[in-house]
Amino acid sequence: MKYAIKMTGPVQQVLRAMLEDAAVRRYGLEISKQAGLETGTLYPVMARLERVGWVESSWEDPDLSISDGRPRRRYYQLTKDGAEQARLALAEISLRREKRRSSLTSARPGPLGASL
C-alpha cells in the first residue's frame, strides 16, 4: 500500500465509476448511483479523495441554477494526477488479486478445494 489514500472497497468503486470517463464532471448523487454506493458512504469517500488531491470539486454556475429555479449543485471531477494514480492503483490491485487467485487454485487442486 503506497497510495495517498487507503484503497478501501468504496474508494475503488468510486474511482472505477469516475474513471469510466475521467473528464466528465459529476454530481454526488450521480456518482453514488454509478458506483452503487449509498450517499452516506459516498460523501466521506469524496472528502478523502478531495483532500489528497485526486478529485476536485466546484460549484456549478449559480446563474444557470437560478434560471432553473433550484440551488447550485456541486460537481466532482478527477484531477489529471488523480486519474493517473487511480488507474495505476486499481491496475495494481486487480493484478495482485489475480495473482492471489491463480496461486490459490494452483496450490489446492484437490477435491477438497472443489467441494468448498
Partner: protein, 275 residues
C-alpha cells in the same frame, strides 16, 4: 431592470469604464447631476474597500456602485448617490464619519450615518412590528438607499448559504417590500418581491423534514465546512422529485455525517502511508 446586465458586466478595476453605465443612466434621469462629485465618492469608496471582495468573488466596490446605479434609475439626488457609494465604508473600513463629512459634506455624512444606524435597528431577534415602527421614523432618503442596497443583495443572493438566503428573502418580504410600497418605489417593490419569492421557492427544501434532518446532523461538522456540505446536499435534495427518495437520501446521507466529520477532523488520516 434594463441596467442590470450593465452593472454585472462592468469591469470594476478600470476607473474610466466603471461609471460608464451609471453616467449613461444619469444622462437620462438626472442630466443636471454633479458627476465629478459622484466619481469622487466612488474613488474614495473604492480605495477604502480595496482588497475586500463580495461572496461572488467580485471586488467589493461593485456593490456600492450597483446600489448607486439602482438609485440613479429612480432619479435620486447627488447626496444620495454619493452616500450610496460610501454606505459601507464607515461600518466595514477604517474611514471615519468625520473624515467623510469633511470630504463630502454634512448632508452625505448624515445619510451614511442613517444607513449604518438602520442596520443596527433591524438586527436579529427583532419583531417585524418593532422594525416597522423604527422605519416610520427614519428619513425617506435613508430608506431609499437601504432599499437599493437590499435589492442588489437579493440580486446576488445565490452566493450566500441557503439558510441565510431564506432569512434574507423573508426579511425582504416582511419589511423591504412594504417599505418600497410606502415610498411608492414601484419598480423596486416589484423586483424585490419577485426575487424574494423565487429565493424562497428555490430553497424550500431547507425547510422540509429531510432538509432539517440534514441540517441538524450537519452540526457535527466543523463550522468552516458545514455550509458547503449543507448547500451541496440541499441542492441534491432538490433534484429528487419523489418525497420518498428525498427522505431516503436524507437518512442515508445523515448516517454518513459522523464518518465525514471524523474524516475531515483527522488531518493525517487521508495522507497516512504505510509500508
Amino acid at each position: 431592470m434594463t441596467s442590470r446586465p450593465q452593472i454585472q458586466a462592468q469591469p470594476p478595476a478600470c476607473h474610466d469604464d466603471a461609471l460608464a453605465g451609471l453616467r449613461e443612466i444619469l444622462r437620462v434621469t438626472r442630466p443636471d447631476a454633479h458627476v465629478e462629485r459622484i466619481q469622487r465618492a466612488y474613488d474614495v469608496a473604492a480605495s477604502w474597500h480595496r482588497g475586500q471582495t463580495r461572496r461572488s468573488g467580485d471586488p467589493y466596490i461593485t456593490h456600492p456602485l450597483a446600489v448607486a446605479t439602482i438609485l440613479a434609475e429612480t432619479g435620486a439626488d447627488d447626496e444620495m448617490l454619493c452616500a450610496a457609494m460610501l454606505h459601507d465604508t464607515i461600518e466595514d473600513t477604517p474611514y471615519t464619519l468625520a473624515a467623510l463629512s469633511c470630504e463630502f459634506g454634512a448632508g452625505v455624512a448624515a445619510l451614511v450615518a442613517g444607513t449604518t444606524a438602520l442596520d443596527q435597528i433591524k438586527g436579529r431577534g427583532r419583531r417585524v412590528s418593532q422594525v416597522m415602527a423604527a422605519v416610520k421614523c427614519a428619513d425617506t432618503r435613508v430608506l431609499a438607499i437601504k432599499l437599493a442596497d437590499r435589492l442588489h443583495n437579493m440580486r446576488t443572493v445565490q452566493f450566500i448559504p441557503q439558510v441565510k438566503q431564506l432569512r434574507k428573502a423573508r426579511e425582504s418580504l416582511d419589511i423591504f417590500v412594504r417599505v418600497a410600497a410606502q415610498l411608492g418605489m414601484d419598480t423596486i417593490e416589484v423586483e424585490l418581491e419577485a426575487l424574494a419569492y423565487a429565493t424562497m421557492k428555490r430553497n424550500r427544501h431547507a425547510r422540509s423534514a429531510s432538509g432539517r434532518l440534514l441540517l441538524a446532523v450537519a452540526a457535527l461538522l466543523p463550522a468552516a465546512i458545514r455550509t458547503r456540505w449543507c448547500e451541496e446536499w440541499l441542492a441534491e435534495l432538490h433534484t429528487l422529485p419523489a418525497r420518498r427518495d428525498r427522505v431516503r437520501f436524507a437518512i442515508h446521507t445523515a448516517s454518513g455525517i459522523p464518518r465525514l466529520a471524523f474524516t475531515v477532523r483527522m488531518p493525517a488520516w487521508g495522507h497516512r502511508r504505510s509500508g
